[in-house]
Symmetry: C2
Subunit: 250 residues, 2 copies
């Protein structure tokens, strides 16, 4: 049998029925706290529970494109602001019983966005909000989304160490203090301002100066801060070090 004959005789129905979805762990920083985009499910299963935005992959759509589409649908975002959102694949979840309807394999994605407007619930959802990650309890979450969120947060925290993604939570021009606030918020640790400043400026390609400064000093005083934009590095060398957590060493 040659290749053409083979393709003509091929029947997709011979293979087990599996659905593929994309889900998005979308993170942003609001009021100094890390927030996560969630929708409240209108339909069973898990009606009334909170869930990650997501849905079926369309037949001729790339996985990343599907995730970006789902994000756009929930946030009402488009154009340049949607393009500036960082989106990467997180992991794929495929436990046979994770969805009671049928075998659903979900390709989870992770998104970093600057402070965005309140989301708009679309047809599948009762409600859509940015929820502080500290307010989460996995009991309220549908499917295995609690696990996916945990994995996404851990990926986000570790990725800030070696990739210049903290800038994706900010506007195109930002101060070193604003950048430090992103790290402190995501890592949940205060950082030494002087050392952070020295480190950021010493890593090649992390940030570059715009030459300008802020219009005003801080809300409670202090000089005007210099403005920077993201540099062209794709990895931070040497990496920033996350403050040591409680050691699990016995």
């Amino acid at each position: 049998m040659n290749e053409q004959d083979f393709l003509a005789a091929y029947d997709p129905r011979d293979y087990p029925a599996v659905a593929v979805t994309v889900d998005v762990v979308a993170l942003t920083i609001r009021d100094g706290a890390l927030h996560l985009l969630l929708i409240r499910r209108a339909a069973p299963p898990y009606a009334g529970h909170w869930a990650l935005p997501g849905g079926f992959v369309r037949p001729d759509e790339d996985l990343a494109a599907g995730a970006r589409r789902e994000l756009a649908e929930e946030t009402g975002l488009g154009g340049e602001r949607l393009r500036r959102v960082h989106l990467e694949q997180l992991a794929t979840y495929g436990q046979p019983d994770r969805d009671p309807r049928m075998r659903v394999v979900s390709v989870a994605h992770l998104a970093f966005a600057p402070d965005l407007p309140d989301p708009v619930a679309d047809t599948d959802a009762d409600d859509a909000i940015w929820l502080p990650v500290t307010a989460l309890t996995s009991r309220q979450l549908a499917f295995d989304h609690g696990q996916i969120i945990d994995d996404g947060l851990e990926r986000a925290r570790s990725k800030l160490e070696y990739a210049p993604l903290a800038t994706r939570f900010l506007e195109p021009e930002f101060t070193i203090t604003e950048l430090r606030a992103v790290y402190e918020t995501v890592w949940g640790h205060p950082l030494h301002a002087g050392n952070f400043h020295r480190k950021v400026l010493s890593v090649p390609g992390f940030v570059e100066s715009t030459g300008a400064s802020t219009e005003r000093g801080g809300a409670r005083g202090g000089p005007r801060a210099k403005l920077y934009r993201a540099g062209d590095a794709r990895l931070l060398h040497p990496a920033l070090l996350r403050p040591a957590r409680e050691e699990t060493v016995r």
Copy 2:
């Protein structure tokens, strides 16, 4: 409609037909070189091309279980030696046209194994071999497997920096020199023996002494080396540093 009614009325056929496969990038070290497990496809598409071992996920099988099953089928491995193989999810590949038959989403996995026997071709394959990664050209590879392999190699190289996985390429007891050889092989760089020794012993939980030594010195002389086994650390703190590659800085 309550949840029970909903599930009864649910028809999987309403959703687009997608097939989900698992593929495995299995790495081992043979004769001081990094090798990759490949099969030669017997059937179209890409008959005669080299491909990663893999196949369809079974209906009641976890993704990781599917990957381990595919690996076992190709290597003839089982029991304790199969259990010692490190297996982790790598990434998911779902370009709509990556398989000419239909929409196939492949969840790729990465495996680290100690030196294993030659593989046995099963029914789907003409041949199965451990191929040195330096001998690869992506023209000979089926589907997007060249890309998957590149991603897997990069993951392996970076993961050795912060995870104690180099021991997975070795027998349960090993010498520091053997461990260093794993790093040199995967990273493609010679390392300073003295500094490597100091570093490995200083990272808590990386290795622990067995108290024993090798039976003989090195093939060309030298004292007997002390034997170690893997420690209980899951991450290396502080991480090992990979020698800087040619900087991409302008």
